[in-house]
């Protein structure tokens, strides 16, 4: 509540300050503070994501710089193992690249792909859900049957199919160039259904509420009702799904890359690193696959825990 006689039209700064002031008192923050597991998950996810984003700044070596990579240092074990070199804390791979640096760069690619894919699914799904829920009738039936059909395939199959088709369309030679884009599209397209269903059902609920009816009576256009009134009221569950889906998308990318249809070794993601390292697991070079694997597990687990917490914290029935 603002002080009496404040400026009648609050500026952007005033509003932002209000929002932060409210957040400090928000249930979500209180619930966060009282859950140690969630705090740890947030710290782990935060550190992983931040260090991945800052990879070019903090990585000890540049794994893409061929000039600084030397085969002399190939297959070095981690620094604390006999024969390790302190310059390469987590050891090196077959080409002599520093594992820590490749993992940082690889996480960066994984997170980028995951976030972009989730953003794509979110936009597709939310749009489809709003249109289906608000429009109803034939539009609703068509969109939801498409969603039903897609749900009968595992998401990874859709992504594989999509990846195959798009790679075939682009000329063979240059497919590496588009690999990042293709995999984002493939994962994004394979995951929109959940968003669409949830948004559709919330839209149906909100559509029947009196404030939407009242807005219609006052002559607000359908588009404005959808964007201003219904959309914001459906975003709570969308946020939860997006968080959980981020973990799924990262995992999906890792799976595709592990299968060899994802990102090429020149642009390694965590999944690519695991696949490459996997071939040398039994020849004793365990560090090449274990470290990217542990990073992936930590990343997915912490994001998932955050998503679970968010789901419970935003669910009025569980409060």
């Amino acid at each position: 509540m603002s002080a009496p006689d404040v400026d009648t039209t609050r500026g952007f700064l005033g509003r932002t300050r209000d929002i932060f002031a409210r957040m400090g008192r928000h249930d979500l923050w209180l619930s966060f503070r009282s859950k140690p597991v969630v705090i740890v998950a947030a710290i782990v996810a935060g550190v992983l994501i931040l260090s991945a984003l800052a990879a070019p700044l903090i990585a000890p070596h540049d794994p893409y710089d061929m000039a600084s990579v030397s085969l002399l240092y190939a297959e070095l074990p981690p620094a604390w193992v006999d024969g390790g070199d302190p310059a390469f804390p987590l050891g090196t791979d077959l080409q002599g690249r520093d594992m820590l640096s490749t993992i940082l760069y690889g996480s960066r690619t994984s997170i980028l792909v995951g976030a972009a894919a989730v953003a794509l699914s979110l936009v597709l799904g939310v749009a489809a859900g709003l249109v289906a829920g608000y429009g109803g009738g034939v539009v609703d039936s068509v969109l939801m049957r498409i969603a039903d059909i897609q749900l009968t395939f595992p998401a990874i199959l859709i992504a594989l199919l999509f990846d195959g088709v798009v790679s075939a369309i682009f000329s063979h030679g240059s497919s590496d160039q588009y690999a990042l884009l293709v995999i984002i599209l493939a994962i994004g397209v394979s995951n929109w259904v959940l968003f669409a269903r949830v948004v559709r059902s919330s839209t149906l609920v909100e559509k029947g509420k009196d404030y939407v009816k009242a807005a219609r009576v006052t002559g607000v256009s359908s588009l404005a009702i959808l964007l201003k009134h219904i959309l914001p009221n459906t975003l709570g569950p969308v946020l939860v799904i997006a968080t959980i889906n981020l973990a799924l998308a990262i995992l999906g990318e890792a799976t595709l890359s592990f299968l060899g249809v994802g990102l090429p070794p020149t642009q390694p993601s965590l999944g690519t690193l695991i696949r490459i390292g996997n071939e040398y697991l039994f020849s004793g070079a365990w560090w090449m696959t274990i470290f990217p694997g542990v990073t992936l597990i930590l990343l997915v687990l912490s994001v998932n825990l955050l998503g679970d917490w968010l789901r419970d914290a935003l669910n009025p029935k569980l409060r």
């Binding site: 039209t9 009196d210 006052t218 009134h229």
Partner: protein
């Protein structure tokens, strides 16, 4: 009483709302259901018309038809709706939107869902004001504060940036009323505006609605199933039964000397403080389903004074004292009355 000085529909002033022979039907796979059948009434400027009836009698549907909020598969199959002498039932969609926003306000039953929980009341008010009036953001906000003051929100300049959940149910209903008044409408349709509120708040809200008519000349269509609300607020009453108007007339007349046997039964079933509760009258049977409305008068299976012609001929509204009732008992022309 003050309301007795209010203009009536039979006065010289042309009615704000006139509904003529309105038919609303639902076309489904199982056939057509006539939910409103030949409904006619009018509301004069500043007048409050109470619409009463049991659940399913067509009260809310009448309101929805007037506002233009009929949901598929329901649609208007006949009749006319005139707002200040202009037909609005056949307007193209875009024009209807303008008309109903500017000239008709709506108040719904549940104040908890009548406001968008994510926008401050100020944002909702100014949005609506800006849709209809060419005002600057500042002027719209000033108008919003004014409206909140008018509906009795204390310290409106401070409360305008609050969210709906900062308000109690009664206060929220006041905000909803302010929202309905944004564009200075000629007609307000209030669909069970007090049902979700406790009795003391109810009285305040009703007083507020009554003041609208007095001070702004706003006509109000007050839909409710609560005879107490009607007695306290309405100038005239329309009693609905099975999608038809059974009786329409001045409130006092309807309450004290009802003519239609259904209205008689309805009034008999209202408990009066001080009387023995065992004297309450109950109308036997229940309202017919829409697919099984009997021929002739819809009330004939439950009527104690049913006559031969009630079973075959449908009565229209006939003069009955100061009211009009759709009952053959009132038929003095053919001399067939009991």
């Amino acid at each position: 009483m003050q309301r007795d000085q209010q203009p009536r529909s039979d006065a010289a002033a042309p009615p704000i709302l006139e509904v003529r022979n309105l038919v609303v039907a639902f076309h489904g796979l199982a056939g057509t259901l006539r939910a409103l059948d030949d409904v006619s009434f009018s509301i004069a400027p500043g007048e409050i018309l109470g619409v009463v009836g049991e659940s399913g009698a067509g009260k809310s549907l009448t309101g929805a038809a007037v506002i233009g909020l009929l949901e598929r598969p329901g649609r208007i199959d006949g009749g006319e709706i005139l707002l200040a002498g202009r037909r609005i039932d056949n307007l193209p969609h875009a024009q209807m939107r303008k008309v109903r926003g500017r000239e008709i306000g709506a108040i719904f039953q549940d104040p908890l869902t009548s406001l968008n929980p994510l926008l401050t009341v100020g944002e909702q008010l100014t949005e609506t004001i800006a849709t209809h009036l060419a005002l600057s953001a500042k002027a719209a906000r000033a108008r919003a504060v004014e409206l909140l003051a008018e509906v009795g929100i204390p310290a409106p300049a401070n409360r305008i940036d609050d969210y709906p959940h900062h308000f109690s149910g009664g206060m929220r209903q006041r905000v909803v009323i302010a929202l309905a008044l944004c564009a200075n409408p000629k007609l307000v349709i209030a669909d069970e505006p007090t049902t979700a509120l406790d009795v003391s708040v109810q009285a305040q809200i009703l007083e507020l609605i009554r003041r609208l008519g007095r001070e702004h000349g706003t006509a109000v269509m007050l839909i409710t199933h609560d005879m107490g609300v009607i007695a306290e607020t309405a100038d005239r009453v329309a009693v609905m039964y099975a999608g038809r108007v059974a009786e329409i007339g001045p409130t006092r007349e309807i309450i004290e000397t009802p003519h239609h046997p259904y209205t008689v039964g309805l009034m008999g079933s209202v408990p009066v403080i001080g009387e023995d509760a065992e004297d309450l009258v109950q109308i036997d049977g229940s309202m017919p389903r829409l697919n099984a409305i009997p021929p002739g008068c819809a009330f004939n299976p439950r009527c104690g004074e049913v006559m031969g012609r009630c079973l075959s001929q449908r009565p229209g509204l006939m003069p009955a004292g100061r009211s009009q009732a759709a009952c053959w008992l009132m038929d003095t022309v053919t001399g067939d009355a009991a």
